[in-house]
């Protein structure tokens, strides 16, 4: 389980996160929702120890993140994080070299599914294909937890459909997923839990089933209530 306990983060004078707490379980998709600048990406980076927090604690399976933890959790950011001179095959080889849990079979399957050409250089890829490569590299690790930052951002409708299909088919295999997105419609049917962030605080945390059954609302309806008063 990923446990985020009362984390706060300040950039200069700006308080980005204030006492944010939530949990994300294995086998569930938890969605961090909020308008731009509410601290969604900062939260994911904090979980991966890519940005220091001012206070609070983060545990992954009851342990503070350390080098071996990166074999069980992966972060898929919304931008390319591999050297642009690499080909897709070289990027895979790099991952294979450093991660014991690299799954080449899955990488090949995903490359075929996304119709990616392994000899293409990363610098030549469109935004949509860059997102697909990011997804392929992240999901080809046999990890327990996957963090995804805006996987649908700036991507055409067909690529979005493909990515949503991959999220459906490859992510829910007993993994814990934390995802941030604006495009809630694409994945609303997949989400188990929602954490609504606003101005760095958790406004609301609920399961989608709960709001559907008890209040008869969709996640989008709840978002409208919160962000369009």
């Amino acid at each position: 389980m990923i446990e985020v306990q009362n984390i706060s983060k300040r950039f200069g004078r700006k308080q980005v996160l204030k006492e944010v707490s939530f949990t994300a379980n294995k086998g569930e998709i938890t969605c961090l929702i909020g308008i731009n600048g509410v601290g969604k990406t900062t939260t994911l980076k904090a979980i991966m120890n890519l940005t220091p927090i001012n206070s609070g604690k983060i545990f992954i399976d009851q342990e503070v993140i350390q080098k071996d933890t990166y074999e069980k959790i992966t972060f898929i950011p919304d931008a390319n994080i591999m050297p642009t001179w690499m080909t897709i095959r070289e990027a895979c080889d790099f991952m294979k070299d450093y991660y014991k849990n690299w799954n080449q079979q899955r990488a090949d399957d995903l490359m075929r599914f996304f119709k990616l050409n392994e000899t293409d250089r990363i610098t030549e890829l469109s935004k949509g294909n860059t997102a697909k490569v990011n997804l392929m590299l992240g999901l080809s690790l046999d990890v327990d937890y996957v963090l995804m930052d805006e996987p649908f951002s700036g991507i055409d409708i067909f690529s979005r459909e493909q990515i949503a299909e991959v999220v459906t088919s490859h992510l829910i295999e007993d993994r814990g997923v934390v995802i941030t997105t604006h495009e809630i419609n694409d994945i609303e049917h997949l989400i188990d839990k929602v954490v609504l962030l606003d101005n760095g605080v958790v406004l609301k945390e609920f399961t989608t089933e709960e709001v559907r059954l008890t209040e008869g609302k969709s996640v989008m309806d709840v978002m409208r209530e919160v962000y369009q008063p």
Partner: protein, 275 residues
């Protein structure tokens, strides 16, 4: 191959094009220098002796014998060494900043590797050290060929043959290729310490941005002060050291500065780094 060596190999590969350019530049400029300087001497000798009727003895008395030191002290020879040193110095910064500011944000991937973050630090520092040692090795390898070329171009009676050990003890070459193994180790340990201090200063800046820049300057000044304190004390005669004592003290302080740099970097990489 463990992850450290893989990362060293990866860092060297990333620098390969620039490195090959530096090697090519060094070879081309230095050999061109040998040819240009040698032929110019021979041409002047031919002109003075055969066209102006000067005797060989008179020419030698006026111009001296040609020797390789004249070439080793020329810009043809020194410029590629200076250029290489400048490029490597710049690369100490580029090796980190590129991972943040290039078209990709590779620093994300590096920091998420399932290995100690200090491994990344040491891999980058080792890559810099290996690049420097590679260029030194190149110089040692090509020097005998340059001497042979010089001997081929300048007739024996117009040149003064100098042993290669004497050439190595000349000017910049004496600094980059010290005469004894002990000096060699000391010079390059000091160089490695400098790389570690600069890396730590870069990490200060990356962790705290503008405040970090200020901290980096303070930290560099403190490290330099600690390292050169005995030399200053000896120079202003507050304490007199025997040469052996001074060298031993510098070695100990160098190790202290390097240890501090590594310890601070480990702390920053583990707890403060921001991408």
């Amino acid at each position: 191959m463990n992850r450290y060596w893989k990362l060293v190999n990866f860092e060297l590969y990333r620098f390969l094009k620039l490195y090959v350019s530096l090697i090519a530049l060094t070879i081309i400029l230095q050999f061109t220098g040998v040819v240009v300087k040698s032929l110019s001497y021979v041409h002047q000798a031919n002109s003075d002796i055969y066209e102006h009727g000067m005797s060989r003895a008179q020419f030698i008395e006026q111009n001296g014998l040609a020797n390789f030191m004249q070439i080793a002290g020329s810009l043809w020879f020194l410029a590629p060494i200076m250029i290489s040193a400048t490029v490597i110095l710049g690369y100490i910064f580029l090796i980190w900043y590129r991972d943040w500011f290039a078209k990709n944000r590779f620093i994300y991937r590096l920091l998420m590797l399932p290995t100690s973050r200090l491994t990344i630090y040491f891999a980058k520092a080792s890559a810099i050290l290996l690049m420097v040692l590679g260029l030194i090795a190149l110089e040692i390898i090509i020097l005998p060929f340059q001497l042979s070329l010089f001997q081929l171009l300048v007739p024996a009676d117009l040149r003064q043959d100098i042993p290669i050990t004497a050439v190595l003890g000349f000017q910049v070459l004496a600094i980059i290729i010290p005469g004894t193994w002990m000096q060699f180790v000391l010079h390059y340990l000091a160089g490695f310490m400098l790389v570690c201090v600069l890396f730590t200063a870069i990490l200060f800046e990356r962790c705290y941005r503008w405040k970090g820049l200020f901290l980096a300057v303070l930290y560099c000044a403190a490290s330099v002060m600690v390292f050169i304190a005995p030399a200053i004390l000896a120079a202003i005669r507050i304490i007199d050291f025997y040469p052996n004592e001074l060298v031993s003290l510098e070695i100990v302080l160098g190790l202290v500065v390097m240890g501090a740099a590594v310890w601070i970097s480990q702390f920053l990489l583990k707890n403060k780094i921001t991408v």
